[in-house]
Amino acid sequence: MLKIKNLNVSTETDVSILKNLNLNVNQGEVHAIMGPNGSGKSTLASVIAGDPKYVIKKGGVSFLNENLINLDPEERAAMGLFLSFQYPVEIPGISLNNFIKTALNQKQKALNLKPLSAKKILEKIKENAEILKIDLEFIKRSVNVGFSGGEKKRAEIFQMLMLQPRLSILDETDSGLDIDALKIVAKGVNSLRNKKSSFIIITHYQRLLDYIKPDFVHVLSNGKIIKSGGAEIAKMLEEKGYDWI
């Protein structure tokens, strides 16, 4: 589904971040990426989503057999890619409700489908709000403005459930969440997982992986994947730290 081959990425100021990175994600798989601060985890997530801030020097990224490199972020989203941001931005003046409606209908448009009816959207909103225990009043607020850390992350997962992506990248969605919120977020992810969606989960903690069982765990360090394996790697890291590798 997602194939990353020899990916080399730099910033606009030519600081090299990712070096010869390789990763394959198949349908229905959950990959966890762990690694010390500054190893390039968020950069990888942003590059897959199409952030124009990064320069791809070498290598390629393909999604559903299509080269992603020259596609705009909105085109990638229409193909079914989703990024849950580590630091979701605040957008004053646009309600979460309005935002999600626009996003859904833009996706419909990109796929040459008819816009969804307001009734249908409302039904989906109610259904997903129920899963994430979100109050409907919350959806009327401006996107992320004045949201607590936990609310921001929950709003990200809510958007994910609304958009039903085929591949979701969760960039430290668990950071700053309490146990209850973590369980709710995991419930959201698992509800989508049942529908054969794939996930890349970037995290620092084993804790989230107790609730969302990964098929693979990769350790990213200094722009490269230095170790890959099953869920047991995460447990070892939790116990011994990165020096262990």
Binding site: G50, D72, F85, F99, Q159
Partner: protein
């Protein structure tokens, strides 16, 4: 200083009227006009709107027959070329409208002093022109000379609107005219007024509108004034509002600017009575090579008054603009609360804006603040929207409308709120 006297003709001797007008106007050497070169926006072919009380009958006939989208049937006061049109107006009870022209002994040259000591002498119409004490007067003087007729609108004691009152200024503009319009509003004690002003240019050519409105808010009066500035004929508008406020009165000036070759708003409020408050806000979307200049001064002359200035503008294409907002606090005007905020969103690299916040404070027990931002669309926010599948163009439109909507969403009157929000949405065109 030239006073307001109808029968005194200017003694200048110019070959063309346009020479006279251009020579008389302030230049960029005048500090208050530093960022707006008026001469650039006044057509060379301009001539002074003829002084007449007779209006374009054909136009009036057609308006009576066909109506106009901006002219509702109820609650409307309509002026054509500065002359009140009774047949096309519906003046609510409690509002008196009088022509001040021809009243020989109108003590128009009697300017009140800044403390407003003679405020109760309503009968001699001594209000008109008093604000000329303030700076910025050349265009006001020109208006005093050249206006067809000034009108006095009095809102009776304890008057209260049911819905908004529309004030519509129509101009026939057979040629490129320099139009003058002069109104004086007196809000008597305890009156509560909701007004919405609009201009209609019936001519094809770009004209210049020099509008002067003076407001006198007496004790406990409440004014909610809206003006929509949206002229599609490449006309220029110089809109001057003077407002003086007595004890415990409140005023809200809401300026919405969209299209117009040049829009200059001079809004000068004097808080003369204790516990009075003024709120002057504006939202604008400036496009093509249009120029917008908001020039605001709020003077706190006595203690315990509040004021707020908040202007938000979006500049696109190669438009330009300026915001100059001043808070003046007189010595002794203690316990003043005065705020000012100006946010500018630059959508195009060719657009420019000058912002000049000014505070002059001579009292020592006050709360005053000012803030000003000029910025482009945040790339991170744009990426966030795009990563959710929203096309770049749509995302930019959405961000512009969100920026502009902040003040519009605060409007209490639903009719005006919906109308303005639709109008802005229609005009966002990335």
């Amino acid at each position: 200083m030239i006073g307001f006297k109808k029968n005194v003709k200017p003694r200048f001797n110019f070959e063309k009227e346009s020479d006279f007008i251009l020579d008389f106007l302030p230049t960029i050497k005048n500090e208050d006009w530093k960022y707006t070169n008026l001469k650039k926006y006044i057509p060379k072919s301009i001539s002074i709107q003829p002084l007449t009380t007779k209006c374009n009958e054909a136009l009036l006939g057609s308006l009576k027959k066909n109506g106009h989208e901006k002219l509702p049937k109820k609650n409307v006061i309509f002026f054509l070329d500065g002359v009140f049109q009774k047949d096309l107006s519906d003046v609510p009870s409690g509002v008196k409208i009088e022509q001040l022209n021809g009243v020989e002994n109108t003590v128009l040259s009697l300017y009140l002093n800044k403390t407003g000591a003679n405020f109760n002498t309503l009968e001699n119409n001594s209000y008109l022109g008093f604000s000329s004490f303030l700076k910025n007067t050349r265009l006001v003087e020109l208006n005093s000379y050249l206006t067809n007729s000034p009108y006095l609108l009095t809102f009776k004691k304890s008057y209260k609107n049911t819905g908004r009152l529309k004030i519509v200024h129509g101009f026939s503009n057979q040629n490129s005219f320099f139009n003058q319009n002069r109104l004086l509003f007196i809000l008597e004690k305890e009156s509560n007024v909701l007004m919405h002003e609009e201009i209609i240019n019936f001519g094809k050519d770009g004209a210049v509108f020099n509008m002067v409105s003076e407001f006198v808010c007496l004790e406990n009066a409440f004014l909610d004034f809206f003006t929509t500035q949206n002229d599609l004929t490449q006309s220029s508008l110089i809109n001057t509002i003077f407002c003086t406020q007595q004890k415990n009165s409140s005023s809200n000036f809401n300026v919405f600017s969209l299209n117009g070759r040049l829009i200059r708003n001079n809004i000068l409020v004097d808080l003369l009575g204790v516990e009075s408050s003024a709120n002057v806000v504006g939202t604008s979307l400036v496009k093509s090579s249009d120029h917008l200049d908001n020039f605001i001064t709020i003077s706190h002359l006595v203690e315990n008054c509040k004021s707020n200035q908040f202007f938000k503008s979006v500049y696109d294409d190669c438009s330009s603009g300026s915001f100059c907002g001043k808070i003046y606090v007189e010595k002794g005007a203690q316990q003043t609360e005065a705020f000012q905020q100006n946010n500018n969103l630059m959508v195009s690299k060719a657009a420019s804006v000058n912002a000049k916040p000014q505070l002059e404070i001579f009292a020592d027990d006050v709360v005053c603040s000012h803030g000003c931002t000029i910025g482009a669309i945040d790339e991170d926010v744009l990426f966030y929207l795009r990563s959710r599948g929203i096309e770049e163009k749509e995302a930019i439109s959405l961000l512009i409308s969100a920026f502009l909507n902040e003040l519009i969403s605060n409007i209490e009157n639903d009719e005006i709120k919906i109308e303005l929000s639709k109008l802005f949405l229609k005009n966002i065109d990335v």
